[in-house]
């Protein structure tokens, strides 16, 4: 290896570290601010100059949220919608991806292109048409409206992701099942799905996050407070009378926790080597 002895190299290293530190601060400070504010009282939040650490540490914001059934309902709604969409997306994407990956059929190419092309449409342009559709189907302000709408956005990418993953699995495995007396259906559920966990986890995480964070469609396609999801719930705290900053921040923290947990749990599935030992 070349020895780094020139002053110029050292300067570059120092500059790089400063830039990285600035970047880290930029990314991490809002998170810190959210955490810190969630443990303050609302009056302290409006104090000038602002306090970096909570002067009087309090859990009142959390108590206000966790003790209020209306606000807990936001969480339930978010979990339910995101959960349902995730399960449905993974199921449908698996079946579609298995078809794309393992079978040849008429129109396969154009269907694939169609799926990719849906990704180029900015979702916001679909807001009004979807609103119209949802109302005319009589599902406005229901879970079904949100679930169906989210599926439209999650499925194309999930199918592409899963197809890519299944393409990496050796076809010999499917054929071994065929020779062992199984059908394609058997091969899919007994062999392909169990060894596709990394792909399934990746797809699930992507889908869940997309639904969990979605704001615009959730705002437009629901109306009653009992149908609102967490992102809308946070916004609702910017009430007519007061800005409940500490509660907004506490709700944001509570809303981010599942994502954090998902990442931690999912990480171990991303480790490679699920098919190790299968071939060669």
């Amino acid at each position: 290896m070349r020895k780094r002895n020139s002053g110029k190299d050292k300067l570059i290293t120092v500059a790089l570290h400063i830039a990285l530190a600035a970047g880290l601060f930029f990314a991490a400070f809002p998170i810190y601010w959210m955490l810190s504010s969630s443990f303050k009282s609302n009056t302290e939040i409006f104090a000038l100059p602002p306090t970096i650490l909570p002067k009087a540490f309090t859990l009142e914001a959390y108590a206000a949220i966790l003790g209020d059934p209306v606000k807990l309902r936001f969480f339930f709604n978010s979990y339910f919608v995101a959960g349902a969409v995730t399960v449905l997306t993974v199921l449908i994407a698996l079946l579609a991806a298995y078809g794309f990956s393992r079978f040849n059929f008429r129109g396969k190419g154009s269907l694939n292109t169609l799926i990719i092309s849906t990704q180029t449409i900015p979702p916001i342009t679909l807001l009004i048409p979807f609103f119209g559709l949802v109302v005319s189907y009589g599902i406005f302000d229901t879970y079904v409206a949100l679930i169906l709408t989210y599926l439209v956005f999650t499925l194309p990418y999930a199918i592409l992701l899963m197809t890519g993953y299944l393409n990496t699995l050796p076809r010999d495995l499917d054929e071994a099942v065929a020779v062992d007396g199984g059908t394609s259906w058997t091969a899919l559920w007994r062999v392909i799905v169990p060894i596709s966990l990394p792909g399934i986890v990746a797809t699930s995480v992507y889908t869940f996050l997309l639904c969990w964070n979605e704001f615009l469609f959730a705002l437009t396609l629901t109306k009653s407070t009992s149908m609102r999801t967490v992102p809308i719930g946070i916004q609702l705290l910017m009430g007519q009378h007061a800005f409940e900053w500490n509660q907004m921040m506490a709700m944001s923290v509570l809303g981010s926790l599942p994502l954090l947990l998902i990442y931690l749990v999912a990480q171990r599935f991303f480790l490679a080597g699920m098919t190790a030992g299968s071939v060669k």
Binding site: E175, A176, V179, D180, V191, A276, G277
Partner: protein, 381 residues
């Protein structure tokens, strides 16, 4: 147990590529048939058609007297060992071997009994709870065998099952598979591109080239009477030397040397006389060329040759030579082209031979062992 009969089987892939051309083959009950040929000649295609993994474009296929052309693999009563093994990575060795029984709905106790039996035969008993990832190459190979054996199928199909093993293990597994096949007595079709496997393992060998069957025969007969130059060159290692020469009277003449043929050569091949005055391809195996300075080589007629290089293998010397003749290509795409400008022939000498690289020698040639082929069609004369 059953016979497998292929009649006029053709395979045309989607891109109009004819991978198999009118393949006729009948494998007897309990027979170990080797399907051999250079890579890309259609061996896997043929095997996969028998397994039902590939559609048959035309022709008929019967396994145990039943027409299986339109049957899916699971109804064909065959078991297959894949080149890649294709073990189920998330299952233990026990589950891998027992999977087909599980799909067939066999009760747990019966499954356990049968898998244990097979594991014992294959010396896998201590590994039954391991996952494929924790096995060595040879062990994985055995699990793949076990998965095929558990079904007690009408026929075993194996696609280059040893190609992923190192040379030493390959020799060992070669013997194991052969004795296992004898012991089980199940009709077996074994695909390989390795002529050594072909010669040592099977009852009969089918040689395939470019999707066309060349010859089906016992290893001994393939070696002794190849039907054409391709089979002659493909079977045997190192390959048979093939040269062009002119037949003049009783002499084969090439460049500056002549080989005198005995009457017997013409009696055994009535067609040979008609090549008088014309070009003919003659072939001689490396083991039928001799160092004329040794006792073993003294009795043969000789031709002049120049030694270009020697590989001393201990039990024998592989001697690369140059003789005054035009070498003929047998048409094996896999043949290692080690014939530079300097060398055009290979001989096997006894290790006591003292010939040196670069020296001019008299090369003994056992004319009784010559093979003759038509220069145009390459068919044996």
């Amino acid at each position: 147990m059953a016979e497998v009969i292929l009649e006029n089987i053709c395979k045309t892939y989607g891109n109009n590529f004819n991978a198999i051309d009118h393949l006729n083959l009948s494998v007897e009950d309990g027979e170990f048939l080797i399907l051999v040929g250079p890579s890309g000649c259609g061996k896997s295609t043929a095997l996969r058609m028998i397994a039902g993994l590939e559609d048959i474009t035309s022709g008929s296929l019967r396994i145990g007297g039943i027409d299986v052309v339109d049957m899916p693999p699971k109804d064909r009563d065959i078991a297959m060992v894949f080149q890649s093994y294709a073990l189920y990575p998330h299952m233990t060795v026990f589950e891998n071997i027992g999977f087909s029984m599980r799909l067939a709905g066999k009760p747990k106790a019966e499954r356990k009994k049968r898998v244990d039996e097979i594991a014992k035969t294959l010396q896998l008993t201590s590994l039954l709870d391991s996952k494929p990832a924790n096995l060595s190459g040879g062990q994985r190979q055995r699990v793949a065998m076990g998965r095929a054996m558990v079904r007690e199928p009408a026929a075993f199909l194996m696609d280059e099952p040893l190609s992923n093993l190192d040379a030493k293990l390959r020799v060992q597994m070669r013997a194991e598979i052969t004795s296992l096949q004898k012991q089980l007595g199940v009709t077996t079709i074994y695909v390989t591109h390795d002529q050594t496997e072909a010669m040592t393992m099977g009852d009969r060998v089918a040689v395939l080239k470019g999707g066309v069957l060349q010859q089906v025969d016992t290893p001994k007969r393939l070696y002794e009477s190849p039907v054409n130059a391709f089979v002659a060159g493909f079977i045997g290692s190192p390959s048979m030397n093939l040269f062009e020469a002119t037949l003049t009277g009783d002499d084969l003449i090439s460049g500056t040397f002549a080989v005198r043929l005995q009457d017997e050569a013409f009696i055994r091949r009535p067609g040979l006389r008609s090549y008088a005055g014309r070009k003919v391809v003659f072939g001689i195996r490396p083991e039928h060329l001799y160092d004329s300075s040794l006792e073993s080589g003294r009795k043969y007629q000789t031709i002049p040759a120049k030694v270009t290089s020697i590989e001393e293998l201990g039990s024998e010397h592989i001697v690369h030579l140059n003789i005054d003749a035009v070498r003929v290509d047998s048409g094996d795409p896999d043949a290692v082209e080690d014939f530079g400008r300097a060398s055009n022939a290979v001989a096997k000498f006894e290790p006591v031979s003292t010939v040196r690289s670069g020296s001019e020698i008299q090369l003994g040639l056992d004319d009784v062992k010559l093979h003759f082929f038509d220069p145009e069609t390459h068919l044996a004369i």
